[in-house]
Symmetry: C2
Subunit: 318 residues, 2 copies
């Protein structure tokens, strides 16, 4: 059953009731929505926590993405930050700002998207807040558990390590380029922009396999590896021929007369996981070696031995 009318007609409390009714609780939830705060199990005695803010018009457009898409994306980009510490996501908290004239179905479908994405990792939406705002704003906080393992940080890469990536690179950027040019296909790229598919289980798997550093690609492969290189005090050398360029990207780039490597190296929002591993360690299936870690001094990240243009991260104010 869906709500009729607008969120203003429905009212705050009925809206919250209907949203909460769509959010079953998980195995980690000790106290779910409806009290002053939620209570979650943290069996490892430590909790991993991260937050993001998504603003309509900046991070999503309601004419390009459904509420279900936005729910998936908002959940995914936070859940993968937990996975990128080597942890298992357990819970989301969600703040939602909505204009009164927003169709009441929109926040309900957003909740469906959040729930579905959480279900992929065994997490649940355990709390939230609904307020009025001129534009739709979605804040998401993800929590996770390390199961007693140490977190894998950005600063642990060492010269001699290999650099390996798991998940998609450049797909979301290519999908955004397609939409920006007024097209709706290739559908696989557009869908990738709307809903990332992070390789969640490979975060804890990389940690257990001895990864020395781990990060998810949110700003772009070069920008995020730049964070790793700077934090670790090393140079990261990529072999462009080893970086996977998926065929939909190559075909679409050719149609647009672009180099697909630009999307692959600088496009964010796919939330691939990039790890460094000692060279002789086993790497979990799904990770592809794309480079190696070198001594510091030659620049944070080199592609085929040279600095790559447009390697800077995305500045939200630029």
């Amino acid at each position: 059953m869906t709500a009729s009318g607008t969120v203003g007609a429905l009212g705050e409390f009925a809206l919250i009731d209907q949203v909460v009714a769509r959010l079953p609780q998980g195995e980690h939830t000790l106290v779910g929505p409806g009290d002053d705060a939620a209570v979650l199990a943290a069996p490892g005695g430590r909790v991993v926590a991260t937050t993001d803010l998504l603003v309509e018009g900046r991070h999503f457009r309601r004419d390009w993405s459904t509420a279900l898409d936005v729910g998936h994306k908002a959940a995914a980009q936070n859940l993968v930050d937990v996975a990128a510490m080597g942890a298992r996501p357990t819970a989301l908290l969600v703040g939602l700002g909505v204009p009164p004239e927003l169709p009441a179905d929109w926040p309900l479908e957003l909740a469906d998207g959040l729930r579905e994405e959480c279900a992929q990792v065994g997490a649940a939406v355990v709390g939230g807040d609904v307020v009025r705002s001129d534009r739709v704003v979605v804040s998401v906080t993800a929590l996770g558990d390390l199961d007693g393992w140490e977190p894998v940080l950005r600063g642990g890469a060492r010269p001699g390590d290999v650099v390996a990536v798991a998940g998609r690179l450049g797909w979301a950027a290519a999908g955004l380029a397609v939409l920006s040019r007024g097209f709706r296909s290739p559908r696989a790229l557009v869908d990738a922009h709307r809903r990332p598919e992070p390789p969640y289980p490979l975060g804890p798997a990389a940690a257990r396999a001895g990864a020395t550093s781990l990060i998810d690609v949110s700003d772009g492969l070069l920008a995020d590896l730049g964070h790793v290189a700077t934090a670790s005090g090393v140079t990261i050398r990529l072999d462009s021929a080893a970086v996977p360029v998926a065929s939909p990207l190559a075909e679409t780039a050719a149609a647009f007369n672009l180099d697909p490597l630009t999307w692959v190296l600088t496009g964010g929002d796919d939330h691939a996981l990039v790890a460094t591993f000692p060279p002789d360690f086993w790497r979990p299936e799904g990770f592809v070696v794309i480079g190696e870690v070198g001594e510091p001094g030659e620049g944070p990240v080199l592609v085929d031995g040279r600095a790559y243009e447009a390697a800077a991260g995305y500045d939200h104010f630029a």
Copy 2:
């Protein structure tokens, strides 16, 4: 040293660096800002979590409140939700949406306010996100630890319990009324609107003293006690003569020709703590008995035996 110019001129990464530089980490922080996620100690094996979204123009006005005030208020209203579970707040995560033309000092002073409020309870800002938005938006998530104690929920009040309140009632509402009429004094009321002063330690203290229910007053005393009564399946009977009406409220209400009890019973945002205790239990100093818990069936909350008008909670879309 403060930043010159606007956040747009400063840029996202420099802004984040300057904000983080103002946020020392606390005893619970295992990994602070700068990685994919923060890692916190959760020694009790459970974590308490709550989130709120504050939107400029709805929850604060930049001409009525300084950035320092907004930081205090945003932190306070989340930290007290943790305390209202009987827990000790340990950390905040903060999402900040800012327009590029915002003076760069604003987010830095916001960070100062967040830090100062956290310092009152031994918590720290451990992570966050900065994005661009048309209006200032602040999302805050607070985490806390129960130190092995059970959380105190809304649904535990039992007939025969006493109802007791700790902290201010009606001050913030009176301050808002003062500002709305174009005045800037009484200063104590205006300050109370700008920065609540929740009685944080009395949350865990009430839990340890055997409170059967516990909630913070964010929507108004009657509305929030209505949540307790409904969740507990009881009627709550308040004695209006026992409810403290502070003298600045009485004087200002007289000047405006209003009944101060309206502010005290229906005003939110002071974040007093209201608990129910078994009648013969010791109550922590600072709690004042204002009523008792009765059998269900006569309405969720009665004042002097009758329903009180305007007892509904604040609907953000009304």
